[in-house]
């Protein structure tokens, strides 16, 4: 990928531009490395098997929700309901999936189908996804409250067992993150239909003229978002063991931030699954472990999230400013 770009570019001007492009591509990894370095400096003991297992505890559901958001953003849409959807899935997993597994599985599959239907609705009526998903966020929250009016329920034992796996040498969250990134990377970046999906956000007209169904592409993207949202909710409830209707509310913003930190852009189908997972890990680590070690009072932790986003975006601008003007 990199070599072909380097070969085709004229050599004189290419070095600077190529260097910038690589730096920009490395930015998600650099931000994560910076956060880890800061934690290592503030508290060396955190850099250990158990340290990472604890710090990255919630990184798996965040990474899965970020992947879900990434599929939606790849098609130039935005899902403002993913947080409450994850919360609803948690409630289903902690009640029906535990008490009546078949009903639970059926509901979760139905959720994915509903996501695909939403994609179809958004495409066919040409609706603004922001408004539709904002409305849906109320629907999921309402359903979650109806299902579980009070915090409680119990996650199925097998789910808790999966989330409690302790592989040798490498902490489970890191293994899971690598798997999620690999699945996303090979699925969306290395398959031919993945290229069609990304292109449906990049140049819809060209894809349509080439004979591909944009409706099918949109439905696939939303169904994938629904599927990863389901996985995110199941992972979350596997960790927390019981659910609450509001448990996922913060995930909408975290997932958008993760995609953007990972180098994704809102338009043009430009997303990066590996970057998105790195972005999610950065948000998960920066969100509380780093700030706790830095003795940032809880009041200001939300602000620190915003500041991290702004700093990374500013760094991106500095890198690309004199490079290729868009």
């Amino acid at each position: 990928m990199t070599t072909s770009a380097a070969l085709s570019a004229p050599p004189a001007n290419a070095n600077g531009a190529e260097w910038r492009r690589r730096l920009r591509a490395a930015l998600p990894a650099l931000s994560l490395a910076l956060v880890v370095a800061a934690i290592a400096w503030l508290n060396p003991r955190a850099i250990s098997y158990f340290g990472f297992t604890l710090m990255l505890n919630l990184a798996i559901p965040i990474a899965l929700a970020t992947m879900a958001q990434m599929f939606v953003i790849a098609g130039n849409d935005l899902d403002l309901s993913i947080g409450t959807f994850v919360g609803f899935v948690c409630c289903v997993a902690a009640t029906w999936l535990h008490d009546a597994p078949w009903l639970g599985v059926l509901t979760l599959v139905g959720c994915i189908a509903l996501y695909a239907a939403l994609g179809a609705l958004i495409y066919l009526r040409n609706l603004p996804s922001i408004v539709v998903t904002l409305g849906m966020s109320f629907v999921w929250q309402g359903l979650a409250i109806l299902l579980l009016p009070k915090p409680g329920g119990k996650a199925p034992g097998w789910l808790q067992a999966i989330m409690g796996v302790k592989p040798p040498f490498i902490p489970f969250p890191i293994v899971a993150a690598v798997v999620i990134a690999a699945v996303g990377y090979f699925g969306l970046m290395r398959t031919s239909y993945g290229a069609i999906l990304r292109a449906s956000g990049g140049n819809a007209l060209a894809i349509e003229r080439a004979g591909w169904s944009l409706l099918r592409a949109k439905m696939t993207l939303f169904a994938l978002a629904g599927a990863f949202g389901v996985l995110s909710g199941m992972a979350l409830v596997g960790i927390t063991t019981s659910a609450d209707a509001n448990i996922g509310n913060g995930y909408t913003l975290l997932s958008i931030a993760g995609v953007i930190l990972g180098g994704g852009e809102f338009v043009g189908g430009r997303v990066s699954p590996i970057g998105a997972v790195l972005g999610a890990l950065t948000m998960a680590m920066a969100a509380s472990p780093l700030l706790t070690f830095m003795r940032v009072p809880p009041d200001w932790q939300v602000a620190a999230n915003g500041a991290i986003l702004i700093i990374v975006l500013a760094a991106r601008v500095v890198i690309t400013r004199r490079g290729s003007e868009r």
Binding site: I130, G135, F138, L143, F266, W300, L309
Partner: protein
């Protein structure tokens, strides 16, 4: 007569008022006509707050695709705390407090624009990042804040003249002013022109960036004003006081017939959309449904209304 009727039907905003009327009728049919007037008075009082931020959001959305202010809830929360602290429960400081709240919102709007302009990032992510920071400032600044609004100010926000709240009358006047600004000023026409085609607007010599800056600043200032009024109406500031206005401000704009992709604003629709949303909640409350059903029904109806209204014609 039929001609006027048909031109009226062709207006996109008429449907939001029709919707508002239908839910009102459904609610009073349930109560058997009891409290029909009171319901309207209450709906008008609550609609005011949605209309004020809705108008700001409408101007921002009209700027074109991707333009939206997600920092309104945090902005409203902070401004409500600023207003209550500045007023300090003293009737003589009401004007100062209102000015402080508006200035606070204005600063938020300018900061939003600065992020969009300097980082060249989509407004969604800029206002989102800004809202994180504003929220923290508010939590830290407004911690344990239990200052009541000055009695005169609290009474003022609750005055009802012949069944019509005083604030609603003032807000109608404000909406008319906003309509003049939209249709008769260079700034208003520029906002619409930029929304239709930013490149064409720039090539035509319009000052695109100053207009965008002014629009975000206006939306922020209206958020600040709304925070102060909400704190007066609900007898105190609160970090979460603005939370519901994220969905509400965007929903009323869209339900009211303003184009989400920009370039086509619709002011009367903001009122129609606000009345529809408030009356919808009133209706569900009248039916005595649980919180879960209320959320579910609100969400489904919003999605249904948007789906029925449909989006832009797809360019071929």
């Amino acid at each position: 007569m039929t001609a006027t009727f048909q031109t009226l039907l062709a207006r996109p905003w008429i449907w939001s008022f029709v919707g508002a009327g239908v839910v009102w009728l459904a609610a009073i049919a349930f109560t058997g006509g009891y409290g029909a007037g009171g319901m309207l008075t209450a709906a008008l009082s609550l609609s005011v707050f949605t209309v004020i931020v809705g108008v700001g959001q409408m101007f921002v959305i009209t700027l074109g695709p991707g333009n939206v202010d997600l920092s309104l809830p945090a902005n409203i929360g902070l401004a409500s705390a600023v207003a209550m602290k500045t007023m300090g429960g003293d009737d003589r400081l009401v004007i100062v407090g209102l000015a402080a709240a508006i200035a606070c919102g204005l600063a938020v709007g300018l900061a939003n624009y600065l992020l969009i302009w300097a980082l060249r990032i989509p407004p969604i992510i800029a206002t989102l990042s800004a809202s994180f920071i504003i929220q923290s400032v508010d939590i830290s600044y407004g911690r344990g804040l239990q200052i009541k609004p000055p009695p005169g100010f609290a009474d003022f926000t609750n005055i009802v003249v012949a069944g019509v709240p005083m604030l609603a009358i003032l807000t109608v006047l404000f909406t008319i002013g906003a309509g003049i600004a939209l249709n008769r000023t260079i700034w208003g026409r520029s906002v619409v022109a930029i929304g239709q085609n930013q490149r064409a607007a720039r090539l035509a010599g319009l000052k695109v960036e100053p207009v965008r800056c002014a629009t975000y600043a206006l939306c922020g200032a209206l958020g600040g004003l709304n925070g102060a009024l909400l704190a007066g109406y609900f007898r105190g500031a609160n970090v979460d006081i603005g939370n519901e206005y994220l969905l509400a401000s965007i929903a009323v704009v869209v339900i009211g017939g303003t184009s989400v992709s920009g370039g086509n604003a619709n002011l009367p629709g903001v009122w129609g959309g606000a009345l529809f949303l408030v009356l919808l909640l009133t209706m569900l409350n009248t039916f005595g449904v649980s919180a879960g059903v209320r959320l579910l029904a609100t969400g489904l109806i919003i999605v249904a209304v948007i789906a029925a209204a449909g989006g832009e014609k797809r360019p071929r």
